[in-house]
Amino acid sequence: MENLSASSRTEAFPVGLRVLVVDDDPTWLKILEKMLRKCSYEVTTCGLARFALEMLRERKDHFDIVISDVNMPDMDGFKLLEHVGLEMDLPVIMMSIDGETSRVMKGVQHGACDYLLKPVRMKELKNIWQHVYRKKMQEVKEIEGHDINEDIQIRNEFEDFEDRHVLNGTDMNSMRKRKDVDNKEHADQEFTDPATVKKARVVWSVDLHQKFVNAVNQIGFDKVGPKKILDLMNVPGLTRENVASHLQKYRLYLSRLQKQNEGRNFGGNMQSDFSSKDVTANFDLHSSTQMQQNGASSKYIYTNQKIPAQVIVPDGCADDFKNVVSLQVMDSKQALLSDVSDSQKVNSVSQLGVLLSFKEMMPIVDMKPLEPAISRHQSWNGGIPVMQFMQYPKHNHKRCSLLEDYSCLPKPDQEHQVFADHVHTPPSVISVTCNTEDDMCSVSELKPVHTNQKSSHIKPISPVPFMTNPVSVQVDSGLSNTQDYSGLSNTQDFGATCGKDGSTNQKDHYNDQTCSGWIPPPLQLSLTNETDLVSLPEQLQLCSLQGIGCFENVGLNNMEIFQYNDSTSAIEVHGNWYDSLEFNCDYLYDSADYPIVDECLFA
C-alpha cells in the first residue's frame, strides 16, 4: 500500500504508476504482475472482472490504468471496459491472444486506449504510462475549454496527478479530502462548487448520476440531449460537455445491456423498498460503496463512487443484497433472483458497497448463463468491519440463505482451514440477501457476537429467519493471501482499504503480500441448503455479511484476522479452491462438480 510504495513514489512519473490487471488466467496474471513490477509500477492483480470493478469503485482514485483480458468467464472484457469508462474514466488496455481486426476494432470502439496481443512482452508494458498521461492532458484541455476560472483546477489537477506519484505514503484520497475541506460534502465528491472542487474531472457520484438518469428518463431516452439533461439536472457547475460525455458512455452501456436483456428473463424492477438511508457505519473508505440506485424506470445499476457511510443497514442491506443477488443470478430459475435486473447485475457487486479490500477476496464465480458473482468484501470502517459477501449460488444449488450457510460454519474456535463439506459449492459468502422488507427488519436483530476475533473474523450470527434468499454464505476465516499466490494477488493496495483507522498496521502487514483476489480464505464454507443454516449453532462464527448492519459491533480486532496469511497451506487451499471454483463455474453439471471439486480441494 501506500507505505510500501513510498519509495517508488519519490521517483518521477511513471515510476509507481498504479496498474490494475484483470485476467482470469492465473498464469498470465502472475507473469504480468512480474513484468509490471519490473517496470517499477505498482501492480494490483485481479482474477475476476466483477471483483476488479468493485475494487475500482471502492478505491476510485487508487488506480491510474487498467489492463484487462478480453475473454473472461464472469464478464466480458468489453463490458468491463465500458464500465470503467463510464464510472471511473480510467484508461483501459485490452489484451487477448486473439488479434483479429474485428476484435481489436471492437476494443477501440468500446474505448480501449490500446489492444495488446498475447503473449505480451515487457517492452509493451513499459510504455503504458503514455495512456495515463495523455488522458490527463485531455482532461485538462477539456477543462480549459470550459471555464477560465478553472485555472486553479487545472493546476490542481496536475498537481494531484504528479503529487500522487511523488508523494510519500500519502493516501491520495485523504490528500484530496484535505484539499476539499471547503466542500460541504467532501465525503461524497459531488461536483458541487467548481471553485472549491480541486479535481477538475467531474466525479459522477451516485446522486449525480441518479439525477442524470432521472433527467434522461424524464425527457425520454430518444429525445434526450445533453442540454436538456443539463437543464433538468440543475446542478451548478456541471457543464454541457460533462453531460455529453457521460451520456455517450451511458448510451453505450445501455445498448449493451439491451442486447443482453434480450434473452433474459427479468423480474420486476428492483424494489426500492429499501433505501440506503440507514447507512450507519461510516464507511469512510474513500472508496465508494456501491449504491444501487434504481432509476425511475431504468434497470441499470449505477454504482457510484462514493457513498458516504455506506453501511449495510438492514434496509440498505436489503436493497443492496437484493440487487446483488439479482445481479448475480441472472437465471430466473434461481429462486434467489426474483427481481433481477440485468444492469444491477453488473453493479450489484459493488453494491455491497463496502468493498473491503481484503486479502481474502472471494472469488467471484460466474456461472453461465447465470452470472453469479461472489465477492467478499470486508470493509473496515472506523473499526467497524463490515463484511459483505456476495454470493452467487451455483446454478442449481438452492441459494443458501444466510441461515443455511450458518450451518456449515465452523466452530468459533476453529482457526482457518475450515472446509465445508460441500466443497463443490463455490465458496459462499455470507451475504445478506433479504428479499422482503420483513426480512430486512429482522436483519437488524442480527448482531454479530463479539467473540474472540483473533482466530477468525467470522462472527457468530444467530440464525435469522429472514434469510430466504439463497445466498451462499461464505465464511472466510482467514486471509487467504499470502506470498505469492500465483498471480491472483492484489498488492498491498488492497490492504489499504481495510480499515481506515487503526488499520494502517494492516496495510503494512499486507505489504509485499499479494492478496489473492479470489482465493478463498482458508476457511470457507459453502453452505447449500437451508436446513443446514437453520441448525447453525450459535457459536458458529460467521462473517456476517448481512451484516452489514450487524457489523457495527465488530471491532477492530477483527482486522487481525486478516492478518494471518502465512499459512502456506492456505496457498494450496486457495489454489484448490480456485480450481474448484473455476471448475464449478465452468461446469454446469452438478454431479461432475462434486468429485472434481473434492479432488481439487483435497488434492
Binding site: 488466467d25 492465473p26 498464469t27 507473469i31 519490473k38 468467464p73 503473449p119 480450481d579 473455476e582 461432475a592
Partner: protein, 151 residues
C-alpha cells in the same frame, strides 16, 4: 566461462525443447523475468500453468462427454487453454489447440475428439519434460543458476 557438466546438461535440454518445438521464445522471456526477488519464477509459473491447464482440460473433457454438440462452449474452453499455453510458450500444445478450434468451427466432432487427445498428449509430454528440466536446474543450485545468464 566454465560451465559445469550440470549446467551444460541443462543448456542442452533446453535447446532440445526449443528445437523440437515444445517451447518458444516466451519461455526465454520468462527466464529473463526471473531475478533475485523471485528466484524460482519460471518454475512457479510453469507449475501454475500445468495446474490451471489441467483444470481447463478437464472441463473440455467433460464438455466433450456431456454436451459434445456445444461447439461454442468447446471453442471457448479451448480459447482459454490456448491463451494459457501462450503464457509459457508451450508451442506444440498451442498448435494442437488451434487445430481443435478449427474442428470446432467446422463442427467436426470426431476431429475435435482426436485433436483433443493430441492436446492431452502434448500437454503430458511437455509436463514431463519440464519436470525433468526443473529437476536438473535444482541440482545446479541457485548461485550457479544465477550465473547461467540465460543459456
Amino acid at each position: 566461462m566454465e560451465y559445469s557438466s550440470l549446467q551444460r546438461q541443462v543448456a542442452y535440454m533446453k535447446k532440445g525443447l526449443f528445437d523440437q518445438g515444445y517451447l518458444d521464445e516466451q519461455f526465454d522471456e520468462l527466464e529473463e523475468l526471473q531475478d533475485e526477488a523471485s528466484p524460482n519464477f519460471v518454475e512457479e509459473v510453469v507449475t501454475l500453468f500445468f495446474r490451471d491447464s489441467s483444470r481447463l482440460m478437464a472441463n473440455i473433457e467433460q464438455a466433450l462427454e456431456r454436451c459434445p454438440q456445444d461447439f461454442r462452449r468447446l471453442d471457448s474452453y479451448m480459447h482459454q487453454l490456448k491463451g494459457s499455453t501462450s503464457s509459457i510458450g508451450a508451442l506444440r500444445v498451442k498448435n494442437e489447440c488451434t487445430k481443435f478450434r478449427e474442428y470446432c468451427d467446422q463442427e467436426h466432432l470426431d476431429g475435435c475428439q482426436r485433436s483433443f487427445q493430441k492436446v492431452k498428449r502434448e500437454h503430458a509430454v511437455l509436463k514431463q519434460k519440464l519436470e525433468s528440466y526443473f529437476q536438473l536446474l535444482r541440482q545446479i543450485g541457485p548461485t550457479e543458476r544465477a550465473t547461467r545468464s540465460g543459456s
